[in-house]
């Protein structure tokens, strides 16, 4: 699956975009986040305060119980501050 990071999540993760292949046990956004944190370093830091992380799966805002699968585009970002 393709992962995108925006704003300070991008800065903390140290990467804007990557392709990942998490284990098969990762089937939801919440499980993906846990796996991300387990990678340590900038990823652990980016997801340290989960309350500040928003997620879109295939360009749609979703909750953390939303399923994720191979081929999905998953974007992590802080709360929106446009307008």
């Amino acid at each position: 699956m393709k992962i995108l990071y925006f704003a300070w999540l991008r800065e903390k993760a140290g990467i804007a975009e990557e392709d990942v292949s998490p284990p098969e046990t990762v089937t939801t956004v919440a499980e993906l986040v846990e796996w991300m944190k387990s990678r340590g370093g900038g990823f652990a830091e980016a997801f340290a305060d989960e309350g500040m992380v928003r997620v879109a799966v295939n360009q749609e805002h979703v909750r953390t119980d939303h399923p994720v699968a191979a081929g999905d585009e998953i974007a992590f970002f802080p709360p929106i501050t446009g307008g």
Partner: protein, 172 residues
């Protein structure tokens, strides 16, 4: 109409398009958001707007469609810029054209409130202490939420002739 662009826009020309050739438009309400030179107690030299291009246009299209579902509108417009902007620069223009002024006002207000919580943009401010990502404001969340209470239970097949219930304002 939706546009996401780095360049500035001509407000007068954009608003004119909303009623051009359509003599059913009685009013056009618009809101222009500008970069301020102060945020809280900090001086802002510039800000950079980052966005998620693949998601931005669909998100804006959804916000616009929602406005058309809720009010009898002739036309709507959302233009949002990205990139580096300086104080006084225009960031965003939202506008709604309707036969009736209340619908134009409410739809325009709705567009900017929802855009602030639904459109994937993030602001990085250049302050004397360095770059700082702008925190989302809880007031923006509340401003967007108040429209949820008004959401019609059943979306009408045609444009609604009645204004949404629970909102202020007299019928036109």
């Amino acid at each position: 109409m939706i546009r996401v662009q780095a360049e500035d826009f001509d407000v007068g020309r954009e608003l004119e398009k909303l009623s051009d050739g359509n003599h059913g438009v009685g009013g056009v309400c618009s809101f222009v958001g500008l970069v301020r030179d102060i945020a809280g107690d900090k001086t802002i030299k510039a800000m950079t707007l980052e966005h998620y291009p693949e998601m931005t246009e669909p998100a804006l299209a959804k916000i616009e469609a929602e406005a058309h579902d809720r009010w009898p509108l002739e036309e709507t417009l959302i233009i949002h810029r990205y990139g580096r902007l300086e104080p006084g620069d225009r960031i965003v223009l939202v506008a709604a054209a309707s036969a009736h002024r209340e619908a134009a006002f409410e739809a325009c207000h709705f567009l900017i409130d929802w855009l602030k919580t639904q459109a994937p943009f993030w602001k990085l401010e250049e302050t004397p202490d360095g770059g700082q990502w702008v925190d989302a404001r809880s007031s923006d969340g509340r401003a967007a939420e108040r429209w949820l209470a008004d959401k019609p239970q059943d979306k009408p097949q045609d444009k609604p002739q009645d204004k949404p219930k629970g909102k202020p304002g007299a019928a036109e």
